[in-house]
Each structure stands twice: as C-alpha cells, then as structure tokens.
C-alpha cells in the first residue's frame, strides 16, 4: 500500500502531461481519488494493525530504500489526501476558465508530482532519501508558485526557490555529518546506533536550520508572504496547507527519531520555542495590518506555523510523560487543523477573486448577500483558526495551553492567548467587511458551484476534526514507531 501512494500520483503526473482537455482533467481526478483512497486504506491499516515498514525491492536497510508508515505519517498523509482531493476538485472548473486554461497542463502535472513527492516525504525512512524528496517538493512547489507568470509572482517564486535551495544544502550537509558519524543513513538505525558528540550536534543544527527555513519560521519567513500571496489561489492553498507541513514533519522525524534524547539540547529547543512565540505574534500582527485578503491569509500562516514550534521546549523540558504526550498531540493537531482551515481560506479567497476580480478587502463589502456560501466558509475556517470551540483549532489550543501551564513555562502561554486575540483581530477584519453595505451593482460574477462547495467541505472538516480528537490522539500515542527498531516516542 505505501508504494502505491507514491506510484499513483507520479503516474497521474505523467498522464496529465501527455493528455489534453477533458481527458487530462479525468486523469487528474482519477489520480486524486485513487491516491485519496489509498491513503485512507493505509490509515485504516495502521490504525488497526500498527506501524508498517516495507523495503522496496526486498533489500533491507541499510542497503535498500525503505518506506515506513506510523501514526504520525498517516495523519499527515490523510491531511494531504483530504486537502489534495478537494483542491483537485476545485481546480477542474478553476483551470477551465479562459485565462487559466493555458496553465492547466503545467499545473496538473506539477501538482500531481508534488503530491507524490509529499507522500514519499511522509513515508521516508532514511535521511538521504529525505533530502531527495525534500528537493523534489521544493522544486515542484517553486514551479507552481511561478505558475501565474506575472513579474511579481516570478520574483516571489525565485526568492522562495533560492531560500529553499539554501535550506536543502544545509540539510544535505547535515546528512553527510550523520553518515560520517553513524555509518548509516536509516533514520531508525541512526537513532539506535547512538553516536553523540560534536558531529551529531552539528548535523542536528544544520538540518534544523535547513528545515525551519523551509517552514518559514521567524526570522526566515521573509519569502512566504509574496510567494503565497501572488500565486494562484489553489496553489497558495497547496503551498500553505501541505508544503510547509512537509518540512515540519521532517523536523519532527529528525528531532524525535533520528537523534536520541541525549543529544538533543534543551537550549536549542528553547530557542525554537522562542522563535515560534515571536512568529505567532509577529505573523499575526502583520496579518492585521494587511489590506489584501490573500496577504492576510499568507501572514497568518507565519503566525499559525509558530505554534508548532512550541512543541520542542514543551516536550523536551517537561518531565511528566502525560504532559509530553499532550504537547506532542497539541502541535500535530494544530498542524492538521491549520492545514484544513488555511486551504479552505485560500480557496474561498480564490472564489472571491473569481467573483470580483480582486482580493482587496474593499471588494468584500456586502458579500454576505452576494456570496453567502463563501462568507460562511470564511467564517467557519476563521473559527477554527481563532481556536474557538468546537473546532480543530480549539482542541489544539486547549491542549497546548494545558501543557504549557503544566510544564510551568509561563512565558509560552503568550502564544495561544495573544495569538488567539490577534487572530480574532484579522479574522473579524475580514468578516466585518461582509456586513459593510457595498456600492450598488459592484458585484459580482457568479462562482462555480463546485468551487464554493470544495472550500466549504474543507472548512467543515476543520471544525469536525475537533470532535474526533480521540482517534488522532490514539494514532499519535499508540501507533508511533512501535514496530520500528530504534524508534522511540518523544
């Protein structure tokens, strides 16, 4: 099953490149739904039977390439599958528009390619392959960001690409150090072979820096707002909901699987935590002062990604295992609910652009009347981002604040509290526009039914996931690396 998750999207990417017109859309949709089903089946399998590890071609580690799926990878695979399917459905009408039609061929093949690379990233089990798929993800993501071809988007995409490349280089250097020290590249073998010392610390540092550059952690966030703000709406949704999560996922793998407890320093974790805290405040503040919808959503990503990095100080300095699990679950939950909500917001922004031609906040006046479904989508996704009950964001904030209070690191509590208030600030800045009476006849072109519904489904998912916390917690605690040698739960 895991190999299918890589195979299907790559095949679909090829088909999309060759085929034309309706056939291309059909191939893309077929690929998307097959990948979705495969992800769901794999998730069910892991949920029931525990973590899986397979060796491609029958070659065991350290010789062959292995794919491993545990609770953590399954959660990210499912996130990718849901967002991916909805974005694909959204894109069929989106890329049949007059202006977008010429872009369809490149979009579909790049997107399927990206989906396959993301899936392999979530299944990867050795550090060198991690580097390879990370590169694949970055290249296809940067190409997608450049898709619209305007000068601004090209500049933004180039900046994104260069940052991502620098990050990859740092990561590769780290891989080299690991190999020099441990003599193996398999994540779980490196973990158990121990190996402590300056080389390993260096490797950890390089890999961490490389990955936080790609995850746009403050102060490496500079590339994100233009790249996400200028791209086409569905591309922005993919970039912020999935691509950023990919590098964060790898960071989790590196910190908690590759490096054993002993070599992880509390200080480095605290630094990450502080950067996360700054990111939450800075990103959310920047979001408030923007006047374009897509830029607000893009800056909001910086803030929302910041929460994830609170995980490191919380897990590494808390003694009580129960609270460690709480912090760990909180951040993964935040990653998932942010992914769903953010994708939905970007898709809704795309609808708005389709209807009024611009994403300036002024164009949103009185959309409660003209685009009720899109307004409703924005509101639902906003509730989840703000962390109001009952939503995925609420569950994440709840657990996060609880583990912060339990670990006694009071200063970190500023993130969920202040961050929540600032988030409310920019969400209501968006929503209150819906109630401002607009000029007569200013709006609007009709928006395709499917596009409105795709965004709505994602928003509803971001709320509903708040009711199914139990399963996620189970996957994150009882299905972590149990069958993998050397794997340890944080």
């Amino acid at each position: 099953m895991p190999e299918l998750l890589v195979l299907i999207p790559f095949t679909a990417a090829l088909l999309c490149f060759i085929l034309k017109g309706v056939l291309r859309s059909l191939a893309a949709l077929l690929g998307a739904s097959l990948t979705f089903s495969a992800s769901a089946l794999l998730a069910a399998d892991v949920y029931q039977n525990g973590a899986i590890r397979i060796s491609l071609g029958g070659w065991d580690a350290p010789l062959g390439i292995g794919l491993s799926a545990d609770g953590l990878s399954v959660i990210f695979l499912l996130l990718t599958a849901i967002v991916g399917l909805m974005v694909s459905i959204y894109c069929v009408p989106f890329f049949s528009g007059l202006h977008e039609q010429p872009l369809a061929r490149h979009f579909w093949s790049l997107w399927m390619f990206l989906w396959g690379s993301l899936n392999s990233l979530f299944l990867v089990s050795d550090v060198f392959n991690a580097y390879v798929v990370l590169e694949l993800v970055s290249i296809s993501a940067a190409a997608l960001a450049a898709l619209s071809g305007t000068a601004a988007s090209l500049r933004a995409a180039l900046r994104y690409f260069l940052t991502a490349m620098a990050g990859s280089m740092a990561f590769l250097l780290g891989v080299g150090f690991i190999y020099a020290q441990a003599g193996t590249l398999d994540m779980f073998l490196v973990g158990s072979s121990g190996g402590d010392g300056p080389l390993m610390a260096m490797a950890l540092g390089l890999m961490t820096v490389g990955l936080i550059m790609k995850s746009a952690l403050f102060p490496f966030h500079f590339w994100l707002p233009p790249a996400h703000g200028e791209a086409k709406a569905p591309v922005s949704a993919i970039l912020s909901a999935l691509v950023m999560k990919g590098s964060f996922f790898l960071l989790l793998r590196i910190w908690f699987n590759v490096f054993q407890d002993s070599s992880l320093t509390v200080h480095a974790a605290s630094v990450l935590g502080f950067l996360g805290l700054f990111a939450v405040i800075w990103g959310s503040y920047q979001a408030i002062i923007q006047s374009r919808l897509k830029l607000i959503i893009a800056y909001s990503s910086i803030g929302q990604m910041g929460y994830l990095f609170l995980l490191f100080p919380l897990v590494l300095t808390t003694v009580d295992a129960a609270w460690k699990i709480e912090a760990w679950t909180a951040c993964v939950f935040q990653a998932v609910s942010h992914g769903l909500a953010k994708a939905s917001l970007f898709l809704a922004a795309g609808n708005l652009i389709q209807a009024s031609g611009t994403d300036n906040l002024r164009s949103m006046r009185n959309i409660a009347g003209s685009l009720p479904m899109t307004t409703f989508t924005l509101a639902l996704a906003g509730i989840s981002l703000m962390g109001l009950p009952p939503s995925g964001g609420f569950v994440a904030k709840w657990m996060l604040l609880q583990s912060i209070l339990a670990s006694g690191q009071w200063w970190l509590a500023a993130a969920p509290i202040l961050g929540g208030l600032l988030t409310a600030g920019y969400i209501f800045k968006i929503l209150s526009q819906a109630f401002v009476p607009g000029a007569e006849g200013a709006c609007c072109k009709p928006v395709c039914f499917v596009m409105e519904k795709a965004a709505l489904v994602l928003a509803i998912f971001s709320i509903l996931i708040g009711f199914r916390a139990e399963e996620v917690i189970f996957l994150l605690t009882d299905r972590i690396c149990a069958a993998n040698p050397g794997g340890f739960w944080p």
Binding site: L388, P389, L401, Q402
Partner: protein
C-alpha cells in the same frame, strides 16, 4: 426513547435547526419564516415545561454526555438552576420572536436576523444546561459569535463600530475564561458542576492559584455580566434593533455572564470555600460599585435605551451581589433576581421599542405626555419601572427584600445601604420619565410611523403585556411553591444552604 437523554438534545435542536433552516430561506418568504420561528419557540416552551414537570415532580435527571477525548466530557445536565434559566430564556424567546416579527416588518436581511437570533437562543439553552465549565465555555463563545451579526444588523457606521467594540470586549473576556478553565483543569482535573467541594480537598499550597483562577474567571465572565469597569460594550451595543436589546442585552448575554458567576461561586468553588479564601468580599464590593455606578450613569442619559442600558448594568449586579454574600436569603435573592430582572427589563425594552417604532421617539424629553397617545404602553412601562425600583407587589420588590434580609443576616449591613441607595437612584431616573409620560403636556405633534388596531400593531403590544403581567404575577404569588421565588428557595435548599 429515553427522554432523559433526548429531551436536552431536543431543547438544543429546536432552535438550532430552526436557525439553520431560516438562513437558507428566501427573503420574501415571510409567512414560512414566521411559522418556523414560532413553531420552534412554542416547541421549546412546551419542552421546557415538560422537562420541568419531569424534574420537579417525577424527579428524573436529564443527563447527556459525550467524551471529547481530551480529558473532559461534553456534558449537559439539567438541575434546578438550569431549569430556571431555561424557562426564562425559552419563554422570553417566544414573546421576543413575536415582537421581532412585528418590529422588523418590511426591513431588509430578515432571514439573516432570525437565523442568528435562533442561534443565540441555542447558545443560551446550552449555557443553561451545561454540566461542566468546559461545556459552559463552548456555548459562551458560541453566544459571542452569534450575537455579533445582530449588533451590526443595521449595517450603519455606528452599528459596525458598536459591533467592533462589543467583539473586542467579549473576545477578551472569552480568552480570560478560556485561560481560567484550562488552568483549573490542569490543577484539579475535570470538574462537573455536581462535584462541588472537589477544590476544597486540594490543599493549601494551591490556594494562591485558586484565587488567581477565580479572579481570571470572574473577570472573563464579568465582561458579559457588565461588571464595572468591564461594562463599556453594553450601552454602545444599544444601536441594535429593540428586540436584540431586549432579549440579548437585557436577558441573554448579560444573564449568561451573571449565570456563569453564579455557577463559579456556587458549583465550582462552593460558596463557603470561596468565602474562606476571602474571595467573596471583593466580589461583593465590585458588584456594589457596579450597582451604584450604573445607576449614577443612568441618571445623566437622555436617550431612553441608553438609560435602560445603564440600568441593566446596575440591576444585573444584584445577582452577583447576592451570590457573594454568605447568607441563605441572599442566595435566594440572587437566583430569583435572575428571572425577575429578565422579565422586567425585557418589558421596558419592548416599551421603548414601541415608542421608537410607532412615534419615532428615542429621547426622554420627547416622551412628555406620551401616555395620552399610547396609554397601554405607558402603563406597562410604568409597571416594569416600579418593579425595577422595588415597589411592592412587583417582582423587583421580592428580590430586593431577600437581598436585604440576607445582608442583615450576614452581618454586612453596608449592603443594605447599597440597596437603599440604589433604589433611591432607580427612582431618581425612572420617576421623572413616568411623571413626564403621564402628567406633562406633549411638546410636539405625534407622528405616526406604524398603524395598528390599537395604539400600535398587536404584535408589538402582546409581548410587553405578557411580560409585564408575568412581573406582576411573580410578585403577587411569590409564596407559591412553583413561583420563581419558590423555585429559588428549592434550589437553595438543594444546595443545602437554605433551611
């Protein structure tokens, strides 16, 4: 079918689904919308009374709980206190819906209005039935979100500004409640309202944290309960249409805050334990300041609705005051005032809405001689205002009597002073209005904006008649076992603090 499980669910869904369906109705489907609204409201009233019968006579416990997988349950549990708030909100929802249908006739965006209106009542129902602080918090935040569109309903610049202020106050308050709830759970684990006294066993080392949590919770809830200095949103929010001011800002939202304070004091901390931590003295002081301050500010308002708003600030704090005094009579007074203040204040707002809607009168100076033009409305206003002042036999007298008795019992006679001063101030801002309405000559020709069979359309007259009657009735039959006072006594007896 297990009614103990389904009845609370039905209570919630009767307004939730009504609201959701109404959102999708076309603007011009007035008839269908009205039928839906009234069906939902009547259904809820019937359900509440049936539930009351089952709880009070058959002694059935209504209990629903789902695991959220986070160390807490989503729990609904109906006790006497819930029942009281439920009865208040569902009955008033019915009359206010009728009023709103008449009030908003012909104005735009009614589907949106009634949709959110139903969602608000759903939130209130949830707040009433919440079985623990977390469930309470979920509905408390839901209430914030559902009321915002109603405040900005008119879409004027003023309304949007009021909405912004309202939102900031309530979001800040909500965040404080969130922190308090999480902290309490970290400290003491999940607490249902029925395990009062669990905090007592925590040991003295956590007393400082408990005091801080209490402070945070009261500050958060105090925003909605309009405790000074957190009351700023309430007068501003008066730009909303009259039914919104009536039901939400006089009853639902401020009551949600006051009800939360009552829950925290009685069911989370326990009144005696909170007293032994020294928390109730400051709370009583804050409530007293609010009572006096609100009344003084009301004196200087010339806009009728603004004056009523400041009067709400003052009157709602009677509940907090009663909860903060350790005496059986005060507890009863606090609980019964929850209902009494609601029916009296809603009458006042209905009347103010009638003056504004039929005559275009908003200002107190324009009210001179209005009794000649609208005698019934003026009479109802007068009755309710007398109730607010505390003239027997109106309901307001009963609450003040009990609060006064309690403060003497507890040996804090300064509270008696606060009550007397407040009654004097109430007279000072209500009597001039009443005098002007009945005994002065009109200063201008009355405009007639809305025609009706009587002085106003019947849909605007029936609701205040009903609520004013209820306020009179609650005072007259106070000694009856099932009157609000009788119920409040039973609640206090159930808590073991009333003989």
């Amino acid at each position: 079918m297990n009614l103990n499980f389904w009845l609370p669910i039905l209570m919630l869904s009767s307004s939730l689904f009504t609201g959701l369906i109404i959102f999708f109705l076309k603007e011009e489907k007035v008839g269908l919308r009205t039928v839906l609204n009234l069906t939902g409201a009547v259904f809820k009233v019937v359900a509440v009374h049936y539930m009351a019968y089952r709880l009070l006579v058959l002694d059935q416990i209504h209990h629903v709980s789902f695991s959220m997988g986070l160390g807490f349950d989503f729990a609904l549990r109906v006790d006497f206190l819930s029942l009281m708030f439920l009865a208040l909100s569902s009955n008033l929802w019915l009359v206010t819906t009728l009023y709103a249908v008449g009030y908003l006739e012909g104005s735009p965006n009614r589907s949106r209005f009634f949709g959110f209106f139903s969602l608000c009542v759903t939130a209130c129902t949830g707040i009433a039935m919440a079985g623990n602080l977390i469930t309470f918090f979920i509905f408390y935040e839901f209430l914030t979100l559902a009321t915002y569109p109603l405040v900005v309903h008119r879409q004027t610049r003023e309304a949007l500004e009021a909405g912004r202020i309202y939102l900031w106050y309530t979001i800040l308050g909500g965040t404080l409640v969130f922190v308090g709830v999480v902290w309490l759970q970290v400290l003491a684990g999940p607490l249902d309202f029925i395990d009062t006294g669990a905090l007592q066993s925590l040991g003295t080392e956590s007393h400082f944290s408990l005091c801080t949590i209490f402070l945070i919770l009261i500050m958060g809830l105090g925003v909605k309960a309009a405790l000074v200095p957190l009351h700023g949103w309430l007068p501003v929010a008066m730009v909303a249409p009259a039914p919104v001011s009536a039901l939400l800002h006089a009853v639902a939202v401020v009551k949600a805050g006051a009800f939360g304070i009552v829950r925290v004091v009685f069911d989370v901390f326990g009144r005696d334990f909170a007293g032994s931590l020294g928390l109730l003295g400051p709370l009583a002081a804050a409530a007293s300041i609010t009572i006096i301050f609100g009344s003084i500010r009301a004196l200087s308002q010339t806009d009728l609705k603004k004056r009523l708003a400041y009067s709400t600030v003052s009157q709602v704090s009677y509940i907090t005051l009663g909860a903060a005094v350790i005496a059986p009579f005060s507890t009863v007074g606090a609980i019964v005032h929850l209902v009494h203040q609601g029916i009296m204040k809603v009458t006042l707002f209905f009347c103010a809405g009638n003056f504004a809607e039929t005559l275009g009168v908003h200002n107190i100076h324009q009210l001179k001689g209005v009794a000649r033009r609208m005698p019934l409305t003026a009479l109802l206003f007068t009755l309710a205002a007398f109730g607010m002042i505390g003239v027997p036999p109106m309901a307001g007298f009963v609450s003040k009597w009990y609060l006064g008795l309690g403060s003497v019992d507890a040996g804090s006679s300064w509270i008696l002073g606060v009550l007397v001063a407040s009654s004097l101030l109430n007279s000072a801002y209500f009597l001039p209005i009443i005098h002007a309405m009945w005994f002065e000559k009109p200063v201008q020709q009355w405009k007639t904006l809305r025609q009706g069979l009587l002085e106003a359309p019947w849909m605007l007259l029936v609701p205040p008649v009903f609520t004013a009657g209820a306020a009179l009735f609650a005072g007259l039959v106070a000694a009856w076992q099932w009157s609000p006072l009788g119920l409040a006594r039973q609640i206090a007896t159930g808590m073991g603090i009333y003989p």
